[in-house]
């Protein structure tokens, strides 16, 4: 009997990689039993099992899909000892050097993640990368024949969620239009402080009226705490640090936002950008890592080293140039539709059947 199980390092209720695994699970169940296992599932997650409960006895026709996004000694040991054919889906690993000063333990795990990937190379029967950039990263550590496929990516997954009333009220009370939105974890390479500084320039130096909402899990809480503190000290109006949100709350923000903006310097794919595009929101980002591939011609790609001054001016340009805003919005809708799960599921299932 065919069984295809997925293994993750961590799993969260609204985590992007867990959501991709959930999308794939529904397709994989057409072949037979398919479960998701993680070494660190969040307490509220009920549809992901702990890795220790993975069925011990090897069975014929069983495949393990490993979603690589970081290092973990227990997951590595499990994969190394597994006799099942191993499929890799690579989501990239954050640059460890940027975490060194804030969280040395996390930096060590990220570094370990790259080392583990190198060691696992010979065991992998199929390598999938969810962006060209991720495929290039795998090639650099000796992987070959990498398939680029956005397996499990659902940019329009939030459309089914109704707007959250409380969030709507909060936005009415605390923000003024236009709303600039950032969605991503609080981590050093995401550079949320550049966005706060941009908001400072917009409101204090250029004389614009804008609001900025920053959404995402507090991976390193001091990153957002320091950015918020800077906003307070510089008396920047309209900066909202909203933390991790539910799907309904996030959908509310996407419906309200005029521009999606990120100063991130490292992204393997950047799912929030695709989600923004699916809501017809133009994007402003740096020309770094996978971002140019993901964004294409649906937004403004600033130079890799762009600072708050260029970001602020890009916002002004998009707000004052309705034809450009409209062009990006339309193109974003078209591009995000190309990533739809319906289109990628068939290709993904063919790849898995090839392994069987």
């Amino acid at each position: 009997m065919t069984e295809v199980h997925q293994v993750l390092v961590g799993a969260g209720q609204t985590d992007a990689i867990t959501n991709m695994a959930r999308s794939l699970q529904s397709s994989l169940r057409s072949l037979g039993p398919s479960e998701i296992f993680a070494q660190h599932p969040a307490p509220e997650v009920t549809d992901v099992q702990h890795l220790s409960s993975f069925p011990k006895n090897p069975s014929r026709g069983r495949i393990v899909i490993f979603h690589a996004s970081g290092g973990d000694p227990e997951v590595f040991k499990f994969l190394q000892n597994s006799s099942d054919p191993l499929v890799l889906i690579f989501h990239n690993i954050a640059p460890p050097e940027l975490f060194e000063n804030f969280a040395p333990d996390r930096a060590a795990l990220l570094r370990q993640g790259w080392e583990e990937l190198s060691f696992l190379r010979e065991k992998i029967v199929l390598s999938i990368a969810d962006s060209k950039y991720n495929a290039q990263c795998l090639e650099k550590i000796g992987y070959q024949n990498i398939v680029v496929l956005q397996a499990g990516v659902q940019p329009n997954r939030l459309h089914k969620y109704e707007s959250d009333i409380e969030m709507t009220r909060l936005l009415e009370r605390e923000t003024v239009d236009p709303l600039l939105l950032y969605v991503g974890q609080a981590a050093p390479h995401k550079r949320p402080e550049v966005l706060v500084q941009m908001q400072y320039l917009l409101t204090h130096h250029i004389g614009r009226t804008t609001s900025l909402a920053l959404v995402g899990p507090p991976t390193l809480p001091q990153i957002n705490a320091a950015a918020l503190e800077q906003a307070r000290r510089l008396r920047v109006p309209g900066c909202l640090f909203l933390g991790q949100l539910t799907e309904n709350q996030l959908a509310t923000l996407y419906r309200k936002a005029s521009i999606f903006i990120t100063a991130s310097t490292h992204e393997g794919l950047c799912l929030p950008v695709l989600e923004a595009m699916s809501f017809g929101i133009p994007v402003i980002a740096r020309n770094a890592a996978a971002l140019p591939d993901t964004i294409g011609n649906t937004g403004i790609l600033l130079p890799e080293k762009a600072g708050p001054e260029l970001f602020a001016e890009a916002v002004c340009e998009l707000l004052d140039n309705p034809r450009l805003h409209q062009r990006f919005a339309k193109q974003g809708l078209r591009t995000s539709a190309e990533y739809s799960i319906e289109k990628t599921a068939a290709s993904f299932m063919n790849l898995i059947k090839g392994v069987l």
Binding site: R121, E174, I223, Q230, R233, L234, D320, R323
Partner: protein, 187 residues
């Protein structure tokens, strides 16, 4: 709970110092050129004081330092020890036998099988050595931690924090002065 910097009456929007018009183009090359040119114009006109971005970045980093606990050095030492331990996973299977050339791959694997006894012997010696090294380093880190928590150690770190706080305050005052100058220019 959301944290925010809620707009207040004091935060009333000021009119733009220079209302620079948008490119009105939909050609991305034109748009990017226009964005760069506008930033340059703002710098030349004094809307953006020289070195503003660097000043803002320094300000943020100064604040960020304050959010780090005072034993950053100890944390990084412990992190380095943790990293060292995480790499101590000696196993013959970690020795690369892969090659893009199938003949070379076969040769590497054959050599690995022929020298398995010697490889294990060397690995055993390395493991014994790293165990001893790990004990020594753990003891050193522990001692260093104790030393930093002594009265003298605390004094050293608190002096540094005081200096950082004073620097942050000075930077805050500079920002306020800059804001006042901008306001007076607008009026």
């Amino acid at each position: 709970m959301a944290s925010n910097t809620r707009p207040s009456p004091d935060d009333e929007q000021k009119p733009g110092h220079h209302s620079l018009v948008s490119s009105q183009s939909t050609d991305i090359t034109d748009v990017l050129r226009h964005i760069s040119e506008t930033v340059e114009k703002r710098r030349l006109s004094g809307d953006y004081p020289e070195g503003l971005e660097d000043q803002l970045d320094r300000h943020y980093r100064q604040i960020l330092k304050g959010f780090d606990v005072d034993d950053t050095e100890m944390q990084s030492l412990q992190g380095a020890l943790h990293h060292l331990r995480s790499t101590v996973n000696f196993n013959a299977s970690h020795i690369e036998t892969w090659s893009p050339n199938p003949l070379k791959r076969l040769l590497h694997r054959l050599l690995a099988k022929l020298t398995v006894r010697q490889t294990r012997g060397v690995l055993l010696q390395i493991v014994q050595y790293t165990d001893a090294l790990d004990n020594l380093l753990s003891q050193m880190v522990e001692n260093a931690q104790e030393a930093t928590s002594t009265e003298q150690g605390q004094g050293l770190f608190s002096n540094r924090s005081d200096l950082e706080r004073r620097l942050s305050t000075a930077l805050d005052r500079l920002s306020l002065l800059e804001e006042k100058i901008n306001n007076s220019q607008t009026l």
